[in-house]
């Protein structure tokens, strides 16, 4: 326990240098601007910035990316409140009560509440990160190929299930497509080239960064430019800094939303938007005044913003301990860590425990920078909101091209970015979620390698995949998730539970 605290202190001290603090300041401000500008998402910002941090030291590069990630998730709430457009998908729930508050002349209060609840949400997530990650990391050391196979599959399935908007089928399809992308190139067990069709550049597989820049950069540009409606910015005439009473009268909501956000963050590939909506729904159910939700409820706004920010910190739990990205942006962070020679996974706590606590310190620094800038730079951010997207998107596209080209300096990656941009846009328009696709690309190799390695160990006998205790549990969970996504089955299960609940009530 004390070792952890000492290492966290060392992590914080590590970044108390002018260069690190300078990186925190500019990266947080950049993240805030990215979050505020509609059409630019946290994942896109992190993916584009990987190029700029390429030549930095590993700790500084990850610090910068983390500040951008956290800043963007928080910054999006400004747009949700003032424009009624979520700055990033994570802030969609914040529009429901944030904008009505702004229309009531309480835009400043709404922004203040969003800022402080974001900070508290991140702190709840950091608390659980510091507690759970070391334990999970230790448990994961006992995992073998069989468990990692199921974990990778679980990540793709649960992400598909929870993010598929009109049907989980689309989430599953997106996940399978991502896994298929990962199958392209040289496989790791026998060094055989798959699906390259004689194209030499495909031999090394599809790089995650250009694919992400396409799926989250170009696809966002196309989606953003498709819309013609111009939103009106709500005026800010009241104070921004909330009182302690205004915040802490909803302490139960803050803790509940923080825990829900943490839980969602731990689940691989289920991002901030799910955390935000889940917290909002739970707060509405538990509220004494649910009728105010959607009409400018301060509690609703606090729940939404606490929930999505808790996800950011909690997403680092599976990311660092299992190398399973907790969100789409975390997938880019994994790629960035690998570029800089940091290998996330169960061995991280053994090989490089200081780095883990440095990540916790990075989150703390980014959180306090968000709080400081969020409460003090309101007028500047309103000016950012007024930037016409026609002038912005052209520059962003040039950055997408440079961002995908710069790491390996080959045009092939730019073509990959274009391909994923176009396919990503079409999939988005048809309501296919992007998170399972990304997760599939990241986890494809893990899934493939562990499946065949497991079979090799048993000379082709698949029994251990189903009989080892942890494997069996994860396998059963996956089967349950898939069965529950079939409407007839889930309805039948609900009826059974209602009936048994009813009969128990009658007996009691």
């Amino acid at each position: 326990m004390f070792d952890g605290l000492i290492m966290l202190g060392a992590g914080l001290a590590h970044f108390m240098t002018p260069a690190s603090l300078f990186n925190v300041v500019w990266a947080t401000l950049l993240g805030l601007v990215i979050g505020i500008l509609p059409g630019l998402t946290a994942t896109m910002g992190v993916a584009l910035l990987v190029t700029l941090t390429y030549k930095m030291q590993a700790d500084q590069a990850i610090l910068t990316l983390m500040c951008v990630y956290l800043g963007a998730i928080y910054g999006g709430s400004r747009t949700a409140i003032l424009l009624n457009i979520p700055g990033t998908p994570a802030n969609a729930a914040a529009t429901l009560d944030g904008h009505p508050l702004a229309l009531q002349g309480k835009a400043g209060l709404a922004m203040g509440l969003a800022t402080t609840s974001s900070t508290l949400g991140t702190l709840v997530g950091i608390f659980f990160l510091a507690i759970i990650a070391p334990l999970l990391s230790e448990a994961a050391l006992k995992f073998g190929s069989y468990e990692f196979f199921w974990l990778a599959l679980f990540g793709v399935i649960i992400s598909g299930q929870m993010t598929g908007s009109d049907t989980p089928l689309k989430g599953y399809i997106a996940g399978i497509l991502g896994l298929l992308v990962a199958m392209v190139g040289m496989e790791t067990l026998h060094a055989h080239q798959r699906f390259t069709f004689g194209i030499q550049a495909l031999g090394g597989g599809v790089d995650l960064i250009p694919a992400m820049v396409g799926a989250f950069g170009l696809a966002e540009i196309l989606s953003s430019m498709k819309r013609t409606a111009v939103a009106h910015i709500a005026p800010v005439n009241d104070r921004v800094v909330p009182t302690f009473k205004e915040i802490f009268r909803y302490w139960k909501t803050i803790i509940r939303s923080g825990i829900i956000g943490t839980f969602v963050g731990i689940i691989p590939g289920v991002g901030e938007d799910v955390g935000s909506w889940s917290s909002y729904a739970a707060a509405k159910r538990a509220s004494k005044t649910p009728e105010e939700f959607g009409k400018g409820s301060q509690e609703g706004l606090i729940a939404a913003e606490t929930g999505d920010n808790a996800v950011v910190s909690a997403a680092m739990i599976p990311t660092l301990t299992l190398a399973l990205p907790g969100s789409a942006a975390a997938a880019v962070l994994i790629a960035a860590m690998l570029i800089h020679g940091v290998r996330p996974g169960p061995m991280l706590m053994v090989e490089n425990p200081a780095f883990f606590y440095q990540v916790v310190a990075m989150l703390l620094l980014a959180t306090f920078a968000n709080l400081l800038f969020g409460l003090s730079l309101t007028k500047v951010f309103i000016k950012v909101l007024a930037v016409p997207r026609e002038r912005l998107m052209a520059v962003i596209y040039v950055l997408c091209v440079v961002g995908s080209f710069a790491i390996t300096q080959r045009m092939f990656d730019v073509y990959v970015m274009l391909f994923f941009g176009i396919v990503g846009f079409i999939l988005r328009e048809m309501k296919y979620p992007m998170a399972p696709l990304v997760l599939g690309i990241v986890l494809g190799d893990l899934l493939d390698l562990n499946l065949r390695r497991g079979l090799l160990l048993t000379n082709g006998d698949p029994t251990p995949f189903f009989t080892r205790p942890i494997s069996a549990v994860i396998c059963l969970i996956i089967v349950a998730i898939i069965l529950m996504s079939i409407p007839a089955v889930s309805q039948r299960v609900r009826t059974i539970f209602k009936r048994s609940g009813g009969s128990q009530g009658a007996q009691g």
């Binding site: 089928l169 399978i176 298929l180 055989h192 798959r194 430019m225 111009v230």
Partner: protein, 184 residues
């Protein structure tokens, strides 16, 4: 073909058109996915099994792609069945309307400009110039011809020129001079 699912039943007419267009688009995509899945199954089945290297038959490179191909075909089939069940008369017309619309034209314009910049301009002239031309054309097009409320031509021209110069030159300077990236 039955009536629309109440769970996704749209509240108003424009939204209803969007949903019905999406259902038809889902049907078409599902058929494409089934064909793609079958192609993956074929290529995985015929993939080299490395028998010459005497590898364990359970570890052939095509194993997971084969499973994924079957899974994609199954999911595509289920999506096709779902979409066919939800499909409404007039869905095809709604889809065509969505594809031939003002927003679609804007998307095609962005894509066209992006492709010309990436595939034609880049590499044929200095990067800063290519980026500048792209940014200038993009802003001019979307603030005048493709804008709902076109802005003053002179102001747009000045802004477009300024942003093109600063954006194109700035990105070139930052990456090529500061980060030492050799741009195409």
């Amino acid at each position: 073909m039955s009536s629309i699912d109440p769970a996704i039943s749209p509240p108003d007419a424009p939204e209803r058109h969007t949903v019905s267009a999406r259902i038809r688009a889902d049907l078409i995509t599902a058929i494409v996915l089934v064909l793609f899945g079958l192609a993956i199954v074929y290529f995985s089945w015929t993939m080299d099994r490395l028998e010459a290297r005497r590898i364990n038959p359970a570890t052939i490179p095509g194993l997971l792609p084969l499973i994924l191909g079957i899974a994609l075909t199954a999911c595509g089939g289920l999506l096709a069945w779902r979409s066919w069940r939800l499909d409404l008369p007039g869905s095809g017309a709604a889809l065509i309307r969505a594809l031939v619309s003002w927003p679609a034209l804007r998307v095609i314009a962005v894509l066209g400009l992006a492709l010309v910049f990436t595939l034609v301009l880049m590499g044929r002239m200095p990067f800063a110039l290519a980026a500048g031309i792209f940014i200038f054309t993009f802003i001019m097009l979307f603030e005048t011809v493709l804008a709902d409320e076109p802005k003053s031509l002179v102001a747009t021209l000045l802004w477009a020129f300024g942003i093109a110069a600063v954006g194109g030159g700035g990105i070139w300077y930052v990456f090529e001079r500061i980060f030492l990236v050799r741009l195409p």
